[in-house]
């Protein structure tokens, strides 16, 4: 059953012994919202409420003009009548059915005749590059293959809202990048609203238009992905994000910032020149110098130290842009040892040089 693209509008209160989920947000048709947060922040509870498996204590969930949950009015549409699809962490393919039958399950459940459902399932398997897996049982699939089939299965009923619950978390490091770029391709082409729960800032960066950060059941930050991740307004979000990001466009051998500086790095997948992209590196990969360094690191930029934050047994420096320098420097983090802080006598307001080796920099496609 195909539905008109429908946005999501939700206001939810659900009390648990450990925390209270209390939040309100909206997702536009076609938009991808990433929900970031530590374990116990309420991410899974949120997905349970949206899919209809959990009944909130108060609030509502609206899909387009359909009210699927309204506690005050006593409305609770059961999960199978909502049109809310779910891609779980472990895929959860039905073990007794072939890949094709798994994908055809949704259409069949809605009364589509078998031959039509199978034809639709084959189309969806092609869509996720898994056509050759059609006759296999889930036990004969690798983690990445199973997750691709599970994605096709979640999309086949054409849900108005697609929930993705840490879809890459259980994959090994070799399989995750391929599925991430597949998700990116498939999700961009669809008009349904999507909510992606993840604890990996990279997933949010590559896949999501907007990021919502949860802590203890509440929203601590909500905004465009790059803005939230590059300029975290709370130390909490900064800790979650935990990555340095530089936006720009892909060029051979790296990324070019808006002001024309070349950031050398390795591309995570083949990117077209001029494609919107983002350079990502961990703060611990940044070395800091008082004078412009003259050595192997390819990426060197002058910054002003805005703040020093304790971060485990290291100190995280936060950079601010120089008055005449590029704006993307704002918020870049560098992790150094307390000894280095003492030796270099680093303090807020000082000018320093950040240096990062090209091998530490990954260039990813950006969501928009």
């Amino acid at each position: 059953m195909s539905r008109e693209p429908a946005g999501l509008d939700a206001a939810i209160v659900l009390r648990r012994p450990e925390f209270t989920l209390d939040l309100a947000f909206a997702v536009a048709p076609g938009e991808v919202l990433a929900v970031l947060g530590p374990n116990g922040a309420g991410k899974s509870t949120l997905l349970g409420v949206l899919s209809g498996l959990l009944r909130p204590d108060a609030g509502h969930v609206r899909l387009g003009d359909r009210l699927v949950t309204d506690v005050a009015a006593g409305v609770h549409v059961p999960p199978h009548e909502r049109g809310v699809g779910m891609l779980a962490q472990q895929g959860l393919l039905f073990p007794h059915l072939t890949a094709l039958a798994n994908v055809a399950f949704g259409p069949r459940a809605r009364g589509v005749p078998r031959t039509d459902a199978d034809a639709a399932a084959r189309r969806w398997l092609i869509e996720v590059d898994a056509a050759e897996l059609a006759e296999r049982k889930p036990s004969e699939l690798s983690g990445g293959q199973a997750q691709r089939v599970a994605l096709a299965r979640a999309l086949a009923p054409e849900p108005a809202l697609l929930l993705l619950d840490e879809p890459l978390a259980s994959l090994d490091v070799d399989a995750a990048p391929a599925l991430r770029s597949l998700l990116r391709r498939v999700m961009r082409g669809s008009k349904q609203s999507k909510v992606l729960v993840t604890h990996d800032a990279l997933d949010a960066l590559v896949l999501a238009d907007r990021v919502m950060v949860l802590s203890g059941g509440r929203i601590v930050e909500n905004g465009p992905t790059r803005e939230v991740l590059t300029r975290p307004r709370s130390s909490f979000t900064a800790r979650i994000a935990g990555l340095d990001l530089i936006p720009g466009t892909a060029v051979d051998g790296g990324l070019k910032t808006a002001d024309g500086m070349l950031i050398s790095g390795r591309q995570s997948e083949q990117l077209a020149d001029g494609q919107s992209a983002v350079a990502v590196f961990p703060p611990f990969a940044v070395a800091v110098f008082r004078q412009r360094p003259d050595g192997s690191p390819r990426n060197v930029v002058e910054v002003e130290v805005a703040a020093l934050e304790p971060h485990g047994d290291t100190v995280r420096l936060r950079a601010a842009a120089l008055p005449a320098g590029p704006g993307w420097v704002d918020g870049l983090a560098a992790d150094v040892t307390p000894a280095a802080v003492a030796d270099l006598a680093i303090e807020p307001g000082m000018r320093m040089w950040y240096a990062v080796k090209a091998t530490e920099v990954a260039i990813h496609p950006a969501a928009r």
Binding site: S51, L53, H80, R82, V84, M86, F94, H96, A109
Partner: protein
């Protein structure tokens, strides 16, 4: 790799040493094993092998065997039809009082079967609460008929199916059913296409256990159905009857029951034998 294969491989790995196995455990285990095996082996020694075919293929024995097989099969089907839904409710429902319900369902497991038979007789007998109504309305009575044998067997065997299937349902969990729901499957569709296929092994081992219990059923049957050749005299009843008249016949028939039991265990393996429901 599936779990039985992993278990089998672990058992065969000669590099692995046993842990959690005190040497002293072997002694009581050996006594227990002897207690189970020696009587059965003794049956073989006591058997009058030359007369065996004649004893087993006597008319009364064949009648009893046929009756036992037919009634046990029907009872097993009834256990699945009525016990299956009970197991699903016990495993999935969120209503209150489930623990009490489960305790009641397990009652026949701990009740002496002959008490169960008497209870059935008092309920469904000619003067019983329901039996009187049935006789007035339909003009027949249940006690001392083949139907009574089936009811008695179903009564005592039902808990075996319920326990086994509820365990399988709990092990399978509700994750797949939740996925089915998000794919648009109604509860009935999800039940037929997801739940049932997933617990089929557990259902099968439960059915085999129930069948075995039906074959061996004695107390409730003799109390509720009596012992009429061809109608209610199942194999265990015949064995009991023959033990005074013709010991050799009783031994031969006992051997037949042992064979049936061994076949049942062979069929049910490896699931409940290896703790896999």
């Amino acid at each position: 790799m599936n779990r039985p294969a992993v278990l089998a491989r672990r058992a065969r790995d000669r590099h692995q040493i046993s842990v959690g196995l005190p040497t002293l455990i072997w002694l009581p285990a050996a006594i227990g094993f002897a207690l189970i095996v020696l009587p059965v082996a003794g049956l073989g020694l006591k058997t009058d092998w030359p007369r065996l075919p004649e004893l087993i293929f006597s008319e009364s024995a064949l009648d009893a065997l046929r009756l036992s097989m037919i009634t046990s099969s029907i009872s097993t089907v009834l256990c699945i039809l009525f016990g299956g839904p009970i197991a699903v409710i016990l495993a999935r429902s969120r209503i209150g009082g489930l623990r009490l319900l489960r305790a009641l369902v397990l009652l026949p497991l701990v009740l002496p079967p002959v008490v169960g038979g008497l209870a059935l007789l008092f309920l469904l007998g000619r003067t019983g609460l329901v039996g009187r109504g049935i006789e007035t309305a339909f003009g027949f009575t249940i006690p001392f008929t083949t139907a009574a044998v089936v009811l008695a067997q179903t009564f005592v065997a039902m808990p075996f199916l319920v326990v086994s299937l509820e365990g399988a349902l709990r092990t399978a969990g509700q994750r797949y059913e939740a996925v089915a729901a998000t794919l648009g499957a109604s509860p009935m569709h999800a039940f037929r296409r997801v739940t049932v296929p997933l617990v089929l092994p557990g259902l099968a081992s439960g059915a085999v256990l129930a069948f075995a219990r039906c074959i061996g059923e004695f107390g409730a049957t003799i109390a509720f159905a009596g012992s009429l050749q061809g109608t209610t005299r199942t194999l265990p009843l015949l064995v009991y009857l023959e033990r005074e008249a013709d010991v050799d016949a009783a031994v031969a028939l006992s051997l037949l029951l042992v064979v049936v039991a061994v076949v049942v265990i062979a069929v049910a393996r490896p699931r409940f034998v290896e703790g896999q429901t």
